[in-house]
Symmetry: C2
Subunit: 132 residues, 2 copies
DNA sequence: TTGCTAGTTTATAATGGTTCTAAATAAGTG
DNA sequence: CACTTATTTAGAACCATTATAAACTAGCAA
């Protein structure tokens, strides 16, 4: 299994559940956005055994902390995650509530001119809201 | 009262509660960011009578819809609002969970090169996360 | 293999922000 | 004043997320 090493290297035990969640998240043709609920459905349809909701939350948070997932800052009652952890941005279609990746090259360089004393920039995220 | 006209013009009846909330939100030296909970506290300390939490929610949403308030896209368990409705962006200090305004001139022009068929851009919001 | 230890999973309860409900109240209008 | 419609309100309901604590499992050393 290709994810065993990856997990072990980041200090996470490669449990059956985590490996199965890895498959659902990362054995895909393209990256995707999801809420915990959507991920739960996806897991249900691809995996025979049950994985508890608590484990899904735990795993997603563990993966996010390790940098395998990114949270997308957006105002919604549910939290959105992205399996695309490269530096990029998002369109958010307000009508369909759908996220669309915006490559860095589609946005151009963002140069933050202001500095805050004693703080450094961890990330810069652009959200472009779309309407009809 | 200077807010009576403003409310009436946008189709909102100028009730006592709404006028009081206007004072708390807009009779300030500078704009500010708030959660509903913080606003509730601020109201409690500035107003003699009680305004129910449901009314605060109703009013904030009504004001947002009319463009008197902006929601700030950020991943938090609570929704953040901004009384600064001009086109601008935010720093978010992860340690203190504090928002800081970032003027448009501090970010520079953002030119979204990609177009989505049949959609137009409603807003562009930049969130710059800060760490120590 | 066998224990041991720390990490993980799990069902379920608890939490907490937000929305809903339905009755009381207040504003606008003729 | 009478009537209609909007608004306020307390409290219940909702629902995503987190906490709990017991059962289980991986890793490791003897």
């Amino acid at each position: 299994m290709k994810y065993i090493e990856k997990l072990r290297n980041s200090g996470l035990r490669p449990t059956k559940q985590r490996l199965q969640i890895c498959e659902v998240l990362f054995d895909t043709e393209s990256t995707f956005h999801f809420t915990i609920n959507q991920l739960e459905q996806r897991i249900k349809s691809k995996i025979d055994n049950k994985i508890s909701l608590a484990t899904i939350y735990n795993t997603v948070h563990a993966f996010e902390k390790k940098g395998y997932l990114k949270q997308i800052p957006i105002n919604s009652n549910q939290t959105y995650f992205d399996t695309n952890v490269t530096d990029h941005h998002h369109f958010y279609d307000l009508k369909n509530e759908k996220l669309i990746d915006l490559e860095n090259s589609d946005v151009g360089p963002i140069n933050i001119k202001r500095k805050i004393n004693g703080k450094k920039i961890k990330s810069i995220e652009v959200l472009v809201k779309l309407e009809d």
